[in-house]
């Protein structure tokens, strides 16, 4: 800070305009670094995935109902069960996490007294720091038996288990971003609503939450990104049977867990190896589409709001 206040030094060995340019260049590099990394990852995925389709028909890959690359009889590469599993677990997690997340955020920003907030907020943030392997373990030894008992089934390693665990993991993201969004709603909105005779409840539900919708959607999308890419928890808690999922009370096997299970021991440069990268590419494209949709939606919303 101090150097900004001081008058220009005459002894500077480098001209100010050059300095300016260098700094500009440095920040430019920083700015495009993540773009370069992204492009690099995409190129790598694409190049490593393409050889898979020399031996696997792309239609049987995208629409096949069986995945068994280490078969005793005949290798098959069909990703539909894994896509369905991934969507089931992710959507299940959102159905649980979004209402709870918005509720918690509204409570924290508008209802809770400062003292309660001081305690609850850090606790929510600590929740984000629990390693996924620990959550997965709780899914096996704690949540699984509870689900089995509640639904009167033999075991609790299923999509519901995964959804609940992922919801827990997505909650901190959803809560903190939604709370920020609610806090950023101009006080004038709230005052106006209250002045018109609305109750506090009506103000939160009918004024503040709609006004903060763009932030809430962003929170939901980030939570969804967290859920769709999570690996260890679903690997441990969902049973991982490769068959087509039958219900939320049956085992599922997501794209991420398949990659994690099989990449460890696959022989390099085989069709199986390339097919796993093709799975990674599918996952990448999925998350890309989700981000794109949310982005488009957010822009639309901002325009309407203006």
């Amino acid at each position: 800070m101090q150097s900004l206040v001081l008058p220009k030094r005459k002894s500077s060995w480098i001209s100010n305009s050059l300095k300016e340019k260098l700094i500009h260049g440095f920040f430019f590099l920083n700015g495009i670094l993540s773009v370069l990394v992204l492009l690099g990852i995409f190129a790598l995925l694409l190049l490593t995935a393409i050889p898979a389709f020399r031996e696997v028909n792309i239609f049987s890959f995208l629409f096949g109902l069986d995945w068994n690359p280490t078969s005793y009889v005949k290798e098959v590469y069909g990703i539909v069960p894994m896509l369905v599993s991934t969507f089931m677990v992710t959507l299940g997690a959102l159905v649980i996490a979004v209402p709870i997340g918005i509720g918690t955020a509204a409570y924290l920003s508008d209802v809770a007294n400062p003292r309660v907030r001081e305690i609850v907020k850090p606790v929510v943030e600590i929740l984000a720091g629990i390693p996924s392997v620990v959550i997965g373990f709780l899914g096996i030894v704690l949540l699984g038996p509870i689900i089995a008992k509640v639904f009167n089934i033999h075991n609790g390693l299923n999509a519901l288990n995964g959804s609940i665990l992922l919801a827990v993991m997505a909650l901190p993201t959803i809560i903190s971003i939604t709370e920020d969004a609610l806090k950023n709603v101009p006080v004038s909105y709230e005052s106006a609503s209250l002045a018109l005779g609305a109750t506090k409840w009506q103000t939160v539900i009918k004024v503040k939450i709609p006004a903060a919708l763009s932030g809430i959607i962003a929170a939901t999308m980030l939570g969804m990104g967290r859920a769709i890419g999570e690996t260890m928890t679903v690997l441990m808690a969902t049973g991982c049977a490769p068959a087509m999922p039958e219900s939320f009370l049956g085992p599922v096997r997501t794209l991420t867990s398949s990659i994690a299970i099989e990449l460890g021991e696959v022989a390099y440069n085989t069709t199986h190896y390339y097919a796993l990268f093709a799975l990674g590419l599918v996952l990448f494209i999925l998350t890309f589409i989700i981000n794109l949709i949310s982005d488009i939606y957010l822009h639309k919303f901002e325009k309407v709001n203006r």
Binding site: Y72, V73, I140, V141, H154, L235, A243, P251
Partner: protein, 290 residues
């Protein structure tokens, strides 16, 4: 600071020399199933024979076999047999492989303690895991659907069980668990479950039943907990744990392998949770010159 640096350099130098001094130490490489056992064996051997040096490393059966083919190790540990292709590759490198069986590994099939079933035949186990039998009543149990628990495809046990028992593909509905301990945990909680794990994982476990298994409907049922039955081959789901060497062994290699096969060595095998070799494999080893 400089003193410390010089000292560490000196130590590194000395280590280099001492390594050179023991350039004739035995190099053993391979299977991760075998690594703890062979390490225990070599530690005891080195204590008994001061001046002998044995280095044991893991990396998987494939790593060990590849090292042997390329003449980069003295003994390769392998929990599977060498493939015909690999033996051929070795011959091309003037490596004539010789196999010795040093221990047996038993695989146990387990169900929940509340499941009244206590025995199955190999054929029935195969049908269950292939998904052809889906209710316990079809194999003499209660009327209750079967839930399958197995390992993930990166596990050697997954492959062994498939090739030795199923001789076909696992049911797509089998839950793929992340390790032996998880299968045990799942079976303890699931009355309808059946799974397979290394016998070391169930020796002291409660809440589950280790099934007795018969090779065929006419054969006797045997339990993997009874080491006599695993040794005699009466318990049908066991696999030999192998070591491969190049041709006629040197005196040092021979001495170590003879120690492994001696009563002391075989007692260590048992302490490590595996089973001593059976008569059948003793004869096999004799043919190989041990």
């Amino acid at each position: 600071m400089i003193g410390k640096k010089t000292l560490s350099l000196l130590i590194a130098f000395l280590m280099l020399f001492s390594a050179k001094a023991h350039a004739d130490m035995l190099q053993i490489k391979g299977s991760d199933t075998l690594i703890n056992l062979v390490q225990a064996l070599s530690e005891q051997y080195m204590q008994k024979n001061p001046g002998s040096y044995i280095a044991v490393t893991g990396g998987g059966s494939g790593t060990g076999v590849a090292a042997l083919i390329n003449n980069k190790c003295d003994i390769a540990n392998a929990s599977r047999l060498m493939k015909a292709k690999e033996i051929e590759q070795a011959l091309n490198n003037n490596v004539k492989v010789n196999r010795i069986v040093i221990a047996l590994d038993g695989l146990s099939v387990i169900v929940n303690a509340d499941n009244p079933l206590f025995r199955l035949t190999m054929g029935e186990i195969g049908k269950i895991f292939r998904g052809e039998v889906t209710n316990w009543s079809e194999v003499g149990g209660e009327n209750m659907p079967i839930t399958l628990y197995g390992r993930q495809s990166n596990s050697g046990t997954f492959v062994f069980f498939r090739d030795a028992v199923l001789k076909g593909d696992y049911s797509q509905k089998m839950n793929r668990m992340n390790g032996n301990a998880q299968i045990v945990a799942a079976i303890k909680q699931d009355k309808s479950g059946i799974g397979y794990v290394g016998v070391g994982y169930v020796k002291n476990a409660t809440g589950l039943t280790v099934l007795k298994v018969a090779a065929n409907p006419k054969a006797d049922y045997a339990s993997p907990l009874n080491s006599a039955d695993v040794k005699s081959g009466k318990y049908p789901i066991s696999r030999p744990l192998n070591q491969y060497i190049n041709g006629t062994p040197t005196e040092k290699i021979r001495d170590f392998i003879e120690y492994e096969l001696s009563p002391t060595g075989q007692r260590i095998v048992e302490e490590e949770g595996f089973f001593p070799i059976s008569e059948e494999y003793k004869k096999f080893n004799e043919k190989a010159g041990f």
